[in-house]
């Protein structure tokens, strides 16, 4: 199969067939990560710049490892906040990097739409590593990969996602990805964290955690930003945890073999009790492991295809 996307800006632009192809490709790459020599020459001579405008250890490291295992030269650039105030615009920053001829820029930025903005202005490929509250496609793909690994399929499963839906780019990408692959997605969170019209992306919205996770195959808990505490969104982390945190008792509402996921880093005792975070149903480290394979697949497909179209 061919893959005709120059950029990976969001799951929104990918069909079910393409999503499956990415997961299958990741499956082939996964084996490399268990070899003695964890490196293949696939992207030898390619240069990948990880341009991160927001702090990130997990995602940046994962992309870096993915690039290196494909023999690409990977360079990390941590840039500070958004333009104007700092004097240099995003376009200028990116054009300066492009003048060094990278093949792929992997970008994280705090502004929704920033990756698309870049893709419209640069010649190289752009891979979205999270833009504002918009999308985080590689996270959704590694989540789907992990679900498929544990459940053997995605179609027909019920996936509950609980937490701060409004501010989560992971949620938006996951809704597109999982619903396109045939899963039923349920959301739950306090009313202050459920954005209007989210159900139009293809999911059910519940007012409480219990309804969302009842008989679910997968329970995905989102990280709660502690700085949202006290702001108008939640009165306290303590109360949030009481109503929207997952503990062993509540987890019993889900299917017996349900898996528990979290995009990390976990706030122990807040969204996940320690017992659940360390329990047999958690697959959080599988998510991290699979992240490398999925990102290898994305970098390979973006760099490898006959580059026919922009999107």
């Amino acid at each position: 199969m061919n893959f005709q996307h120059k950029h990976i800006l969001g799951i929104e632009h990918l069909s079910a067939e393409e999503l499956t192809f990415i997961l299958d490709t990741a499956d082939s790459f996964k084996e490399i990560n268990t070899r003695d020599i964890k490196k293949v020459p696939t992207l030898r001579g390619k240069t990948i710049v990880n341009l991160f405008f927001e702090a990130s250890t997990r995602t940046r490291t994962s992309f870096e490892v993915a690039g290196k295992r494909l023999s690409a030269d990977t360079i990390n650039i941590s840039a500070s906040g958004s333009s104007v105030v700092k004097g240099e615009t995003l376009e200028d920053t990116a054009k300066n990097i492009e003048a060094m001829h990278p093949d792929i820029i992997v970008m994280r930025h705090n502004a929704s739409g920033a990756c698309r903005y870049l893709a419209e202005r640069l010649d190289c490929s752009v891979v979205n590593a999270g833009d504002g509250m918009h999308e985080h496609p590689s996270q959704a793909l590694l989540d789907a990969f992990t679900i498929r690994q544990h459940k053997g399929k995605i179609a027909g499963l019920t996936v509950a996602i609980v937490g701060d839906i409004t501010h989560s780019r992971v949620v938006r990408s996951n809704i597109y990805c999982l619903s396109r692959l045939g899963a039923k997605v349920r959301l739950a969170g306090p009313g202050t964290m459920l954005p209007p019209g989210i159900e139009k992306l293809g999911c059910e919205v519940h007012r409480n955690l219990e309804d969302a996770i009842r008989d679910a195959d997968v329970v995905m808990m989102l990280r709660i930003q502690r700085e949202r505490q006290g702001a108008p969104l939640i009165p306290s982390v303590r109360e949030y945890s009481r109503y929207f945190g997952l503990n062993e008792d509540k987890l019993k509402l889900a299917k017996k073999d349900a898996i528990v996921m979290h995009p990390g880093p976990i706030n122990r005792g807040v969204e996940l009790s320690t017992a659940v975070a360390d329990g047999p149903q958690n697959v959080i480290l599988d998510q991290v492991e699979n992240g490398v394979a999925v990102r290898m697949a994305l970098l390979y497909l973006v760099a490898g295809g006959e580059q026919l179209q922009n999107d």
């Binding site: 502004a111 698309r116 209007p196």
Partner: protein, 423 residues
């Protein structure tokens, strides 16, 4: 100095005229309207096939002069107006420095007189420095030429301050123009709140932010008996609030912009900052309500909120881009489009950009009555053309309609009988 406009379709809503007539202009004023006026020694303009209307009045424009001339100035802004068939612009006070004192007002009016291609009627600040703390010297400003008062771009947050502003402005028979927005509900939003903002991951501005403040200001107008003009209404709720208030006899008027009756928040989908403005583009339901408000007379004027911004202020991430779009040069075709779509009659449409805004602000413009100043637009209503942002007369190119097909434009614009634009 005589000028004869021959054989045009004259549309003058004030006098209920819509027929083929000749218009004779003597010394910059309308001297006669009749069929087959003898030219005599007058210069003749053949207007066969054209509509002859009073020059348009845009009651909400940012000319950016003084201080922000890199975006626009009085010369370029009035040239853009003339190119759009607009002969009078009402300019907002959020310049640098702001128009809260007589010196600035005089600077604007005198520069406009000397170098402008359109009449410029300034709006003064409600509060000094737009700070919402101390009233501006409205009496003196009015005497200097200000036609109304507004802290446009910002709401007057404090309820009592708004009440006193209405009362005080009423002393001088000037309207308060409200930028109705509850900033605590905007809370950092950058587009309309709804399914599109959710999908794009952009922080939304709920309709309630506009409606809540519109409601407060209408109640204060009712309380004080003063004239409130609500700028750029964009929501179903605020149109309805104005409609109800008018029924109760409150002295309230309002305006709507072409982008708010032509575009919805769907246009933001590609994060194009030329669709970022305040108030934001709303839902299809709101657009329908604005159109209904124009049709039933609730809305008194179509005004562009012409807001020029430099490319560097727009070519950035959506969330941090400046609010606003230019509009002077697309006002006429977009207004005529409502006639084409049978939302308005031609008479209603012309009235919304001529005599009705003139009525809101008490301007002696917007009519072709004998004796009136000969501000006239000659309009080819059927000419199809395509907007090219780079070809705009305005210094700034931030239009929402770049590349869009338009129907109708001014082929000639007369300011007091003098041709200020011709294509």
């Amino acid at each position: 100095m005589k000028l004869l406009i021959k054989s045009g379709r004259v549309v003058d809503p004030v006098n209920k005229i819509d027929e083929k007539l000749d218009v004779l202009i003597v010394d910059g004023k309308i001297a006669e309207l009749a069929s087959n006026i003898d030219a005599g020694d007058a210069e003749v303009i053949n207007a066969a096939g054209l509509i002859v209307t009073p020059g348009l009045i845009d009651m909400h424009v940012h000319l950016r002069d003084p201080g922000l001339e890199y975006k626009e100035d009085i010369v370029s802004g009035t040239r853009a107006a003339a190119a759009g068939g607009v002969t009078s612009v009402v300019c907002m006070p959020n310049t640098s420095p702001v128009n809260d004192n007589l010196a600035i007002t005089r600077y604007i009016t005198s520069k406009a007189k000397e170098e402008g291609s359109a009449n410029v009627f300034p709006v003064g600040c409600i509060t000094k420095g737009l700070k919402g703390e101390v009233l501006a010297e409205m009496g003196e400003l009015k005497e200097g030429g200000c036609v109304g008062f507004s802290d446009d771009g910002l709401p007057v947050k404090d309820g009592e301050m708004m009440r006193r502003a209405l009362e005080y402005a009423n002393t001088f028979d000037a309207p308060i123009i409200s930028h109705a927005e509850d900033l605590t509900l905007v809370a950092g939003g950058c587009m309309n709140e709804g399914p599109v903002s959710t999908e794009l991951g952009l922080k939304g501005i709920p309709w309630a932010a506009e409606d809540a403040m519109t409601a407060r200001d209408i109640m204060l107008a009712e309380l004080t008996g003063a004239h409130l003009h609500v700028a750029h209404v964009s929501t179903r709720g605020s149109v309805e609030l104005v409609r109800q208030a008018k029924t109760r006899g409150v002295r309230v008027t309002c305006e709507a912009t072409p982008h708010h009756f032509m575009l919805t928040d769907e246009a933001v989908r590609n994060y194009d900052t030329n669709f970022k403005m305040n108030p934001p583009l709303r839902s299809a339901d709101d657009v329908a309500a604005v159109r209904a408000g124009l049709a039933d007379g609730t809305i008194d004027a179509i005004a562009t909120d012409h807001a020029p911004h430099h490319i560097d202020e727009k070519n950035v991430e959506f969330a941090i881009a400046m609010n606003g779009v230019v509009g002077l040069e697309t006002l006429l075709p977009l207004t005529l489009q409502l006639v084409g779509e049978k939302v308005l009659t031609l008479e209603q449409a012309i009235a919304l950009v001529t005599c009705r805004p003139a009525g809101v602000l008490g301007l002696e413009r917007g009519t072709l009555s004998v004796g009136a100043v000969a501000d006239i637009a000659l309009v080819n209503p059927n000419k199809e053309w395509t907007v090219d942002a780079q070809q705009l007369q305005s210094k700034s190119k931030n239009t929402s309609f770049d590349g869009q097909k338009m129907k109708g434009y001014a082929v000639r614009t007369l300011l007091a009988g003098q041709t200020v634009f011709e294509r």
